[in-house]
């Protein structure tokens, strides 16, 4: 079984400082990754939101035109995504503050993470339903 002990397999790994391996980090690491992503997404939304709202100062007509384009199923889906991103960012933000300022925060970081994910699901399921019900019934209900 060991006579042919060598089976060389070449996979190129990138970079020498971070050797290209995926680190299977603590759930806390993935919560931080998600926090970053939702934060950046929310920032992009706010950027676009400030621009479109500022448009009302330019011309109310143009503002109405832009808002009109938002009445599409795709934008509705993006809205649900936005609520999901903001909600996660907010809940995890509370968790991070507790980790920072509550002496027992580091000890309970994982239970707090599971709790926030449960809360997220509990809010998002009915939330997504009520946000989408109109769009879905208009698309498929034929009312």
């Amino acid at each position: 079984m060991t006579d042919s002990a060598m089976a060389t397999e070449q996979v190129v790994a990138r970079g020498s400082r971070s050797n290209g391996t995926l680190y299977r980090g603590d759930p806390g690491m993935w919560s931080w990754v998600a926090h970053r992503i939702t934060g950046v997404l929310t920032f992009f939304f706010l950027f676009a939101h400030v621009l479109d709202t500022a448009l009302v100062r330019v011309s109310p007509n143009a503002y109405d035109q832009v808002i009109e384009t938002y009445k599409s199923p795709i934008v509705n889906l993006l809205e649900v995504g936005l609520v999901g991103a903001v909600l996660y960012h907010a809940l995890n933000g509370i968790r991070v503050m507790l980790v920072d300022f509550w002496a027992k925060g580091p000890k309970y970081q994982k239970p707090m993470l599971w709790t926030l994910l449960v809360v997220w699901v509990l809010v998002m399921v009915p939330g997504a339903y009520f946000m989408m019900v109109r769009t879905v019934s208009e698309m498929f209900g034929g009312s």
Binding site: M1, T2, D3, S4, A5, M6, A7, T8, E9, Q10, V11, V12, A13, R14, S16, R17, S18, N19, G20, T21, L22, Y23, R24, G25, D26, P27, G28, M29, S31, W32, V96, V99, D100, F101, G105, P106, K107, Q109
Partner: protein
């Protein structure tokens, strides 16, 4: 005199040892790098007979002693005390001498593959051997020694059990670099002091006999100091001594905010 020496493969050391009863063949997949030959690290797999009670270090020894003597890694005591053999095992930082094969076995009789890579964020010299100097520099920078002013006492510096308990957790550090090289911030910004340096600062900052807390807090108040910590808890998960690393970092942060 043996005439067969020239027939042996370069770097190998003679016959394979007998395979013990109960051994299963596992695939040991190692991220190797030899600066003289390779421009990039490359994966190399070895089939190694392993007992469930073997440690990953035993498998590395098997490869080095019987298959390929050029495999390079650090190890000294091999009992989890010296902290020489920190490596990335199946994607997480562990000591090669503390991880048992039985805990890495894939269930249901499926073939087991164990991946071993050098710890991240430090320059690789060869295979699993990394340059520890940046890590040690950060450690030295926090002044990890007793600082006192005024006259030396004529007897021991007395400390209550309660005061000793305050920093007990952070006295356990063996400087293996598992924590620092598990930190995403350290991978991207090598200038960050890293968890290990902060743990060793914590050990003295909260020591009632020490008078250098202010100096150390000033050092760690730096842009590359404790504020770089994003509380990912990778360090706490990686520490082979079970130190609550993130908790220690948070205590230093709070000391900076509220103690002065």
């Amino acid at each position: 005199m043996t005439a067969t020496v020239s027939e042996e493969k370069a770097g190998s050391r003679g016959d394979l040892p007998p395979v013990p009863d109960g051994a299963v063949t596992v695939t040991l997949k190692i991220l190797r790098f030899n600066a003289e030959v390779d421009s990039e690290p490359r994966w190399e797999s070895f089939n190694v007979p392993a007992l469930p009670t073997d440690r990953v270090l035993n498998l590395l020894h098997y490869v080095k002693w019987y298959v390929d003597g050029t495999l390079t890694f650090r190890r000294s005591c091999a009992h989890g005390i010296c902290g020489s053999d920190a490596m990335q095992i199946n994607g997480v930082n562990r000591l090669g001498c503390k991880v048992l094969v039985k805990d890495l076995m894939s269930g249901g009789g499926k073939p087991t593959t164990i991946t071993v890579a050098p710890i991240k964020g430090l320059p690789v010299h060869k295979d699993l051997l990394v340059d520890m100097e940046p890590f040690m520099e950060a450690f030295k920078a926090v002044k990890p020694f007793l600082i006192t002013y005024g006259n030396e006492p004529t007897r021991e510096r007395i400390q209550s059990a309660h005061d000793r308990e305050r920093f007990d957790d952070t006295t356990k550090c063996i400087l293996c670099a598992c924590c620092t090289t598990s930190c995403p911030v350290f991978w991207n910004e090598g200038s960050y002091f890293g968890p290990a340096a902060i743990v060793n600062a914590h050990r003295f900052i909260f020591d009632s006999r020490d008078e250098g807390a202010e100096e150390r807090l000033d050092i760690l108040n730096d842009a590359e100091g404790v504020w770089r910590c994003r509380t990912t808890f990778n360090c706490t998960d990686a520490c082979p001594r079970g130190i609550q690393v993130t908790k220690a970092i948070q205590e230093v942060k709070r000391a900076l905010l509220f103690r002065r």
